[in-house]
Symmetry: C2
């Protein structure tokens, strides 16, 4: 039932399985640019993934997430782990400049072959950022990186969806980011497995810690107790405690996984993959011969787009051409 | 080929056509909550829309967009126009509070029946905010409001997509929002038909105006010349000039519409409507009997989501059940 991979793609996958970093980079680019049938590719590597611990880092811009991640990388390298970092840049135009700075702070690790750093940006991903993030994580996981650290530069809708992909979510706050009310408003107390009050030497750090601890208590005491840690990432203080909390949470998950929660998570994942695949195939079909006539009518204003949508969705022959029959090769037909 | 509307929905539409404001509100809610076949509904009203001038207002939080919109409403009401305002709230959690304030400032117009104010928020719209915005605009347009003022509280990806729906885009900036570099970075010079430097009495206003004028000049002089206006919305200063620029731009569009640009816009609109409809039908199908078996296998981890996606998309019988055959009625089956 499933699509076969081209010989060229199979050869690339072979090199990937032999842990060739160039093949890894090429594969991520293919996934990001949707140059191949990503579903077929993912189906092939899915069974090799599922071993890595995925740790998400989120919080307001300027909270020091990149510095914290950089400190943790050093710890993981000392432990002999091979670490991947996925930095999500939603390109919020008015946040300005943070991402470049983040990359510079990460520069310590650029020459270390046991660390793989990759950025994913909204630009060009057409709202499919969380899907691209999921698939890049799967590729990194299948390659053998463990842990995978995912950093988002903000806390919008997309970022929350990406945090949903992490096993352990670390919410990084700072005294300046306002008080705990902001955290609650953003729904961050719902997703936090670990709170880190960074820049802990600044005024207000202790109060923020107390407020966050209260919000954790109010949530109830069943299951994992969310720790609220104080750190100074810039001064390398409190990092070991963060590492220990992450390790504890991983151990907790190993013995306390909730099968109902896991099932719902798989369903959400399936829904997102299916709907994205439908959208992508439909977008491609709009460029194909099969729908040229309908597209021309809509462009000329002869048919309104709702009527055209309905006529496509009620015509099985058209649906077959959109989804079942392989479409014409794209410009990069070699894949 | 197209779907028929239920008698109840037809009756609601009838009241809507008779300009019943309760029917309007009900219809927008139906569209927002996707309780009906929105494509069928939109197909019915599409021919009645297309008369209103849609004016978008965007810019950084705190630039004074709502105050400017409120001032313009007063002008339009004095001219005898019936005005609709669509306030888009992307619920960015760390922007905090702006939206409530905006609503309060708009309160002057709440009791005026010639003004219809509606908010649309990200929460619950599952990333479909720009589609919901488009369809709400169509409904307001078909009802007879003209102009329709659309306000976004930020300048992210979604907001840019929404501004794409406007005929005239007003970019509101303030001296404090940083310099023109921020505007350029955000791509706002690409979408601005009119620049307004608001809070024009503050230091830096003149410099910002000069910089924006330079960026307009650098873009080239073909077609519409983007004016850079200085206003003080709070003090009701400079508003007539903004109104005049909007009116000029509308007149410009009426005589200078570029048919190629219009065609591309219709194609983008069609692509978005088609892909959203596919996603929504697929999501509903995942809750139906037809796919219960696949869903169960995915939830149990017996089949990976990519394999399941591929098997669905290669099976015409499944596709037929997803899209062509009407699905079971939803909980609110009365529509």
């Amino acid at each position: 039932m499933t699509q076969r991979l081209s010989p060229k793609l199979s050869a690339l996958l072979e090199r990937f399985y032999q842990r060739d970093r160039n093949a890894l980079a090429r594969l991520i680019t293919l996934v990001e640019n949707r140059e191949v049938s990503v579903a077929a590719l993912m189906d092939s590597i899915y069974s090799r993934a599922g071993r890595a611990h995925v740790i998400g880092f989120t919080g307001p811009p300027g909270a020091g997430k990149s510095t914290l991640v950089s400190r943790l990388i050093t710890r993981y390298r000392n432990l002999g782990s091979e670490v991947a970092v996925l930095a999500i840049d939603p390109s919020s135009p008015f946040s300005g400049g943070a991402v470049l700075g983040d990359r510079i702070r990460m520069a310590d690790h650029f020459t270390d072959h046991g660390v793989y750093i990759r950025s994913l940006s909204t630009r060009g991903s057409h709202g499919g950022l969380s899907r691209a993030a999921r698939e890049t994580m799967l590729v990194l996981d299948a390659f053998g990186y463990d842990p995978i650290l995912v950093e988002t530069a903000g806390v919008g809708q997309t970022e929350l969806a990406i945090m949903d992909l992490a096993h352990t979510t670390v919410v990084v706050t700072v005294p300046e980011s306002g008080d705990s009310i902001q955290v609650l408003k953003a729904g961050l107390n719902e997703i936090a497995d670990i709170f880190v009050v960074n820049k802990g030497d600044r005024p207000g750090a202790q109060r923020l810690k107390t407020e966050l601890e209260l919000s954790v208590k109010l949530k109830g005491s069943q299951g994992w107790r969310v720790p609220v840690l104080v750190a100074e990432a810039v001064n390398d203080k409190g990092i070991d405690e963060v590492l220990r909390a992450i390790t504890d949470h991983r151990a907790y998950l190993a013995t306390n996984s909730d099968s109902e929660v896991d099932k719902e998570k798989r369903l959400r994942e399936f829904r997102e993959i299916l709907t994205t695949e439908l959208s992508e195939k439909a977008s491609r079909a709009l460029k194909s011969e099969a729908l040229a006539h309908v597209v021309a009518d809509v462009k000329e204003g002869k048919v309104n787009p709702y009527e055209a949508t309905q006529s496509i969705l009620s015509d099985l022959a058209v649906l077959a051409r959109m989804f079942v029959v392989p479409l014409e090769k794209t410009a990069r037909g070699q894949w």
